[in-house]
Subunit: 271 residues, 2 copies
């Protein structure tokens, strides 16, 4: 993939400050940055946005909102308030989009959690529309269904986006979560056709995954046919940034500049 | 669930020999045993079957065949031959069923692996029919799609069982693999209606799973609503054994008799 479409999530190079991320990404020819909440430290979101644009980078998304389901109604209200705050932060940052890790509670059914997710998104939506920040439901791999997301397939994310029916709510397609999905090509087509394909994330699935959360692979290192999925995404007309999002205890322990160089190489060759 | 329907997989109490499994299970009031290949050691399969029946237990299944997909045609032929040998062993053991962990190859698409699985099962089927051993496709959780199974939903297992269309090929429903599946109730109904629901496995999904393979929970320890899924399975008319299959580095390190006592308790209270 052409490097002009390359965006990197700050979490990918977690040891770096936002300042370092911005300078190093820009120097490597990367054009976009997705900002994790923890990366904005010691400055306001407005300042963070200025820092990024001053270095010639574009803010692609703010990560991450969600976690709407709770057995307690009070906790659900808190989650909605928290997400509203995130929308304000995203607007200050100049991020056009918030990624939603929707949440799940092990103490209730996935169906109930899904209902609470929809209620939560709809409660945040008016502010999101007002501040021009889109909300992207990220379906998470079924291995996260216990407590991270009750939305585990693109089919389910499409269902919910269609049920909500706003141009401000769509989907973040991540190859890590969805590569195994039975009707993935058709669901990507459906997502694009409805105008709901808002973001596209890449990394790889290592055949011997050592950690369920923090052992994602660099593109090309695993078993996902990323080029094929990219072709499906592009075929919908999507021409936005392709976001590299790698959580990895292994890579975080290595020299981050070398890692960045390898990301750029892999992005050009394997995405 | 009534203990009369309780079956335990030998792998659940891996530190025990088959002899110990048989004696302890029987003494605990367990009625069925599913025998893993590694448990038959120092005796023939015929002798193992006799040992089990002599102690008043029933052989429920032989575990496990499958692993059909390979990029090399030669390896695929070898896999089929291996599975034929397993069918013969199952027949000698007196097992009415072999559980198939169907396999996947990270070096080819899941679609190709699925085609090879179907070819493999159909190649083994004549011998299975001749020796009266059924073949149960076990859909595995999507986190095993890289190299363990390209069949990751009950929907896919139903599709394949229907495509093969033999009364000797069906499905093993395991709550660990399928609890998150979007249309699980409907797929269980479909499976039962077609006469394809051949086996039902239970354990639990721990919210903080430490190991992708060997950290399954005891029933009641995790977030799966096992009673609900059991009610769906029973509603199809299934009245066979309910098989406890727990891989756990944690439990394998503990006193196996205490663990067995806890399994029996959990089976009665939580299944």
């Amino acid at each position: 993939m052409n490097l002009d479409r390359c965006c990197i999530h700050t979490i990918t190079t977690k040891p770096w400050s936002l300042n370092e991320c911005v300078e190093r990404y820009a120097a490597a020819g990367v054009k976009g940055i997705s900002v994790w909440q923890n990366a904005v430290e010691g400055m306001t979101h407005t300042q963070a946005g200025e820092l990024i644009r001053k270095n010639g980078l574009e803010v692609v998304s703010y990560v991450r909102g969600g976690f709407f389901p709770h057995t307690s109604a009070e906790e659900r209200v808190k989650a909605i308030e928290h997400n509203k705050k995130l929308v304000e932060e995203a607007a200050a940052l100049g991020a056009p989009l918030i990624v939603l890790v929707c949440g799940a509670s092990p103490d209730q059914s996935l169906e109930t959690s899904r209902e609470q997710i929809q209620v939560g998104i709809e409660a945040v939506l008016p502010l999101a529309e007002q501040l021009n920040v889109k909300l992207a439901i990220e379906p998470l791999h079924p291995m996260y269904a216990a407590d991270r997301s009750a939305i585990n397939t693109l089919a389910q994310a499409n269902d919910m986006s269609e049920a909500i029916g706003s141009s401000f709510v769509g989907v973040a397609v991540d190859v890590y979560h969805l590569w195994w999905e039975p009707n993935l090509e058709a669901e990507i087509k459906r997502c694009g056709k409805n105008g709901h394909l808002l973001a596209y994330h890449v990394c790889d699935w290592k055949v011997n995954t050592l950690d369920m959360l923090n052992d994602r692979g660099l593109m090309g290192e695993g078993c996902i046919d990323i080029k094929k999925i990219s072709s499906w995404v592009d075929a919908t007309g999507f021409d936005g940034y392709v976001e590299v999002e790698i959580f990895s205890n292994i890579y975080w322990q290595q020299n981050q500049q070398n890692f960045l160089n390898n990301i750029v190489k892999a992005f050009i060759e394997k995405v």
